[in-house]
């Protein structure tokens, strides 16, 4: 796309088409970012929106920014988000149910009001001027940006450099925990457990009878009920425990049925043999 040849107030049809299609995707992505229940999904939707925006930057002649948007934002920053999502995990508290009285209505009111006002403002603004970036990008977009950054904006550039370093140091300070006391030895830990009188042996392992040793399946107690203790805490908090307590019974029933078929005897009315987790899907 060469902006120099475009009409003063309009863009090409191709760009218009691109705008309407990708714009819709961007808005949907943004809405999904807000309304998706799980943080991972929100992050992915946001990444999609950002890629769309990158394309828009390219369409607007900001080639450097378009690439940076993909590499830095979508690539680096969103990865950082995903890392943190993995670190923090998803807690049960993360539901969309509102807890502060009137917050949702106020938020929607403010949002709609603000949006309407912005639209009114843009509509009222006298945006007659439309030059396109052809002239500015004549020597190449990156060169143009570079000459501006290192001349007119050199101080701002240096200061943002300092800001980045400060931020890096700050992040380290915030997340680094100085150990203020000696780490407890295993002996002390075991003594402490004895003193508190709980879980003297190691926590029970997940899985039942070596058939299901996946980490997300709770081990069964002798009476057949699953014990949540056997499953990793993070999985527990995310509600990702698979219940296999009825599986053995179902397997037994299936065995009986096959035996009946083989022996050609009518048996008790067979039930559905769906696995519980399949049924829930």
């Amino acid at each position: 796309m060469n902006a120099t040849h475009l009409a003063a107030y309009t863009t090409s049809t191709g760009e218009a088409f691109q705008f309407w299609v990708l714009g819709t995707i961007a808005v949907i992505g943004a809405l999904c970012t807000v309304f998706m229940k799980k943080a991972v999904h929100s992050a992915l939707c946001l990444a999609g929106t950002m890629i769309v925006l990158a394309i828009f930057y390219l369409a607007n002649g900001a080639y450097f920014l378009g690439i940076v948007q993909v590499v830095v934002y979508t690539g680096a920053i969103m990865m950082l988000f995903l890392f943190v999502v993995m670190l923090v995990g998803v807690t049960a508290a993360d539901s969309l149910k509102e807890t502060i009285k009137g917050q949702r209505w106020l938020a929607l009111l403010c949002g709609v009001g603000f949006g309407v006002l912005l639209f009114a403002g843009i509509g009222n603004a006298s945006l007659k001027e439309f030059n396109g970036t052809g002239q500015a990008n004549a020597n190449g977009n990156v060169e143009g940006l570079a000459s501006l950054i290192f001349t007119k904006y050199v101080f701002a550039f240096e200061i943002t450099g300092a800001l980045l370093i400060t931020a890096a140091v700050g992040a380290m300070v915030l997340t680094h925990r100085e150990r203020t006391e000696r780490a407890k030895t295993q002996r002390e830990l075991s003594e402490q457990r004895v003193r508190e009188g709980k879980h003297l042996p190691p926590l029970p392992a997940p899985g039942v009878y070596a058939r299901h040793n996946a980490v997300d399946i709770a081990g069964l107690l002798p009476d057949g009920t699953p014990s949540e203790l056997t499953v990793n805490k993070t999985l527990r908090e995310r509600g990702q425990i698979r219940d296999v307590s009825t599986e053995a019974l179902n397997d037994l029933r299936a065995l009986e049925q096959r035996a009946e078929e083989r022996l050609e005897r009518t048996a008790i009315q067979p039930e559905t043999f769906k696995r519980p987790e399949e049924a829930s899907k």
Partner: protein, 99 residues
């Protein structure tokens, strides 16, 4: 198509992001919404840059990205340390500053 549409899109994305900040409790999602708002602003800057025919808008957008990166680094560090102390990423749990 009038390029002003880009501005409308930016306004819409900004408003969606802002509303998201207000209604989501998960600090990480909240942060994503902030990023969305920043991106909407960037889009507006880039569009202005195109309208005025100079690169200053792009420079500002570039700086916004840098600042956003710094902000994300610090913000996520705060979220991590918050999660460590409260075992929760909900911003409502950090509501001790009240009477």
């Amino acid at each position: 198509m009038n390029p002003v549409n880009y501005l409308y899109l930016a306004a819409l994305l900004f408003t969606i992001g802002a509303t998201g900040v207000l209604i989501r409790r998960n600090a990480i999602v909240l942060f994503m919404c902030v990023e969305l708002m920043l991106n909407a602003c960037n889009l507006a800057f880039v569009t202005f840059s195109r309208m005025h025919g100079n690169l200053d808008g792009q420079i500002i957008a570039f700086f916004t990205m840098v600042v956003a990166a710094a902000e994300v680094v610090v913000g996520l560090a705060i979220i991590v340390s918050l999660f460590r102390t409260r075992h929760s990423a909900s911003v409502d749990d950090a509501s001790l500053m009240k009477l």
